[in-house]
């Protein structure tokens, strides 16, 4: 699905990380952890083509990101559900329309999708907030809405950046179970989080691979958790 080969990235100047290699096989479940500022968000951005590797090769669905034009990146995004860390929405549209936005921009918005949308909103517990504008939502509600939006196109890959950062424990368990369920349906999932409790909770649900990014390198960190 997504493959990184000896990738380095630097934001103007010093390298943030280098020599990263990883394969996200179809149906795999990954956690990406590491201290704040270690580059988890940057790593995910490389995976969905928002950033281009300074060195090395990133390929998404067997295409080198370096060879993709902006339209190709846009089409790849439709197969990758991204939960952005800062959960940006179109603030002038109600939550339900924001969640349905991927359908709108891909020209798939239709009445047949209403049930799909309602089901998703129920899953993330936002049915009551469907008509609220994003600025009226709490941080946790925004995160759940962002997850629902990432899922509405039924993507092959789900990349979630701190999806449980602002929600309570119970809700984070619920979101985790949703992601695990999607993974059982065959979707490739990668969650960046510094929440070790969440990772521990996941261990009993899914055979996840745990990666740790620190000091500019990526390590497998299964055993010490």
């Amino acid at each position: 699905m997504i493959e990184l080969d000896n990738v380095a990235y630097s934001y103007s100047g010093a390298a943030l990380f280098s020599g990263l290699s990883l394969q996200l096989a179809p149906g795999s479940f990954h956690f990406l952890t590491g201290p704040s500022g270690s580059g988890k968000t940057t790593f995910l951005k490389l995976c969905y083509g928002a950033l281009r590797a300074t060195e090395g090769r990133v390929s998404v669905f067997d295409t080198d990101v370096a060879d993709m034009d902006r339209d190709a990146v846009a089409f790849a995004r439709r197969r990758i559900g991204v939960v952005h860390q800062d959960c940006q929405f179109l603030d002038h549209l109600p939550l339900a329309e924001n969640v349905a936005l991927p359908l709108t921009v891909t020209g798939q918005a239709s009445v047949d999708q209403v049930d799909n949308l309602r089901e998703l909103l129920t899953w993330v517990g936002l049915t009551a907030k469907a008509d609220a504008l994003p600025p009226e939502l709490s941080g946790g509600e925004r995160q759940r809405a962002a997850l629902a939006r990432a899922l509405i196109l039924s993507p092959d890959v789900i990349l979630a950046d701190e999806p449980t950062g602002n929600v309570d424990w119970e809700m984070s368990q619920r979101l985790l179970r949703l992601l695990v369920e999607l993974n059982k349906m065959g979707k490739t999932v990668m969650i960046a989080t510094h929440d070790l409790m969440l990772i521990r909770a996941a261990k009993s649900l899914v055979p996840a691979r745990i990666l740790r990014i620190a000091g500019g390198t990526l390590q497998s960190a299964g055993a010490d958790l």
Binding site: L90, T104, V105, T106
Partner: protein
Amino acid sequence: MLLARFKGLITRDAGADRVVPPAGFTVRLTLFTAAAMAFLTVFALALSLAAGRLASTWGEELARASTIRISAPEGQLAAQTATVLRVLEQTPGIDSARALTTDEQRALLEPWFGPDLPLESLPMPQIVEVQEAKGGYDADGLRLRLQAEAPGAVLDEHNRWRRPLVAAAGRLRLLGWVAIGLIGAATGAMVTLAAHAALAANAQVIAVLRLVGATDGYIAGAFVRRFTLRTLTGAAVGTFAGLIVLLLMPSAGDTGGILTGLRFGGLQWLWPLLVPLSAAAVAFVATELAARRVLGELA
């Protein structure tokens, strides 16, 4: 691809319309400027067309500019007419000359004296119509010769004074078109600035749309649609207002010159319809180009 965008523009794509935040300051500014520009264009257009009309009617009159009026005692009239025609034949720069028939003269006088004028009993001068060639003729020379050979003949160049006016009218028409061109360019520049500002101000909207898989074409289309429709609306309002003002201008019928002739004649009323459409086309292209540039910069 541009054609597909244009189709999206006219078939109502409610989704694309909604993803751009509702009318901001720039869009209202576009509405106002488009209206003002269209208002001005209507006048420039009316000026151009009126000047063109004036130039061509005056020009036609110039083409058969001169007449020679021969007043002579009954017995000499025919002889002097023959002399005048012979002189004219020999004058370089004269295309043709023709003595008007009695009926034609009667028709000329009818508006002033009515149809029942007993021409036969009046001492009527004979009118000779002179059609000059392209380069014109030497009027003073002709006048001198006529004086010598046909003392009753008077060369009347009553339309000659219009010659510089025809040139001026032609210039005025050109000026009108230049003004329309400038207004169009200014509209394009204004829409470019407004669209650029709107796109830059909506960087976050663009980021969100990209995150969920929107192509540049889709994003640009949403903005293009917004600006094109606003410009079309504004220009339609401005054109309508301009037409109302033109209609309210006092009419002086056929005798009017450039001032009172500032209106459209006949099918020319269709011209103003082009104003909103051209403004929309300008906005369409300007926004499309601005969007491509900004989306490239935001990549």
